[in-house]
Symmetry: C2
Amino acid sequence: MLNPLPEGAGAAHDRLYRNLRSRIMHGELPPGEALTLRGIGRDYGVSMTPVREAMRRLVAEGALSLSASGRITTPALSNDRIEELAAIRSLLEPELAVRALPRAHPALVDRMEAINTAIAEQIVKHDASGYIRTNLEFHRTLYLRAQAPAMLAMAETVWLQLGPTMRALYGRLNRTELPKNHRLIVSALRAGDEPGLRLAVRADVTQGLRLLAG
Amino acid sequence: MLNPLPEGAGAAHDRLYRNLRSRIMHGELPPGEALTLRGIGRDYGVSMTPVREAMRRLVAEGALSLSASGRITTPALSNDRIEELAAIRSLLEPELAVRALPRAHPALVDRMEAINTAIAEQIVKHDASGYIRTNLEFHRTLYLRAQAPAMLAMAETVWLQLGPTMRALYGRLNRTELPKNHRLIVSALRAGDEPGLRLAVRADVTQGLRLLAG
DNA sequence: CCCTCCATTTTGTGATCACATCTGGAGCCA
DNA sequence: TGGCTCCAGATGTGATCACAAAATGGAGGG
């Protein structure tokens, strides 16, 4: 049998879920975008049934908002909510980084540095979605080493909720260079500097979002 | 119109969701319990459609586990997973408590003390589910004052995942008296002692779960 | 006594339909 | 122009059905 895993396999509702989740997390949909069951079903060539299940799942994770009448949109977050989600990131992610620290062998840090140069490429291309995607890949590469799947899942849920907002935010800040905190994270990892790593991750996680709320 | 809110109102899938979620969070179902769409539908007098949506939502929150073949059971957590969830609680809940501290007026603390005596009653009745319910009410009463809905939702998700395990755990520890950490929390609130509150909440949150893993 | 195999039953998945409700805008009046 | 009513189309909800895959349980053989 040897696990085929043909990338687009499995139940239709799960395929829909993964596809939509990825698009939302990476900021491919703007905040406030309306989605309909029949519309999504038409786009993916399936009936409403699997679409409803995928939507229900995404709503449960906060990736989508549900109006009182059942209409589904991407979330348009208030500033208070954005600050709160940033606070959650600054609680979870330093902990994940510190747990990964003893397991972060040099090859891993090299890989993170490679992702950093990929981020720089996305910046010069002005590709918001690509920037978000590679930025999250930088963080996930480190956190995977923490051996803490529940905590990582929770962090990803927060990323998901911030996805559409991140896209809108990216347009405002006209970034021109790689965030310096990523370099600080890499050096702290190389030096085995736990307090420095905590600070660098916390700073990186809150930097972009503070200016929006301010 | 004046929002009727007849307690059992709204869409069937939502009613199912709330009901099952409450039962799971409060430990009314043992770990590893199997649930079927047709079975739940029969119990609640609805078809499979709304049941599927409620299940999908609960699975997304980690309240239920989904096997590779789509079978649904209450989660049977490994010790590693339990420790990890306890670690998440010890990150989120002290923060919630500290945020609530400046808003915790005396009447609120009185109410928490009243809940404490209710917990003591559940203990003498040997009512595991009642104990879990009132214990969570103690925490939620405080955290609601933190004005941090996203963080509270995240904490509740962790409670939900631990629900069935808490039930199994309760049987092992044969509690005879009120956890002393609840008293410490109340005094720290009265004294406005932020570091003390942090410590007391962290201790309360990890106390029961450590002995299971140990 | 334990294991294997096969038929039966159970179970999840997805499509389709009927229905109640909501949305959005045209049309109208002040 | 501004605000209101009202209706046609769009939308979410739930029931039912057909189907394939998986679990179940018992017969048969080692």
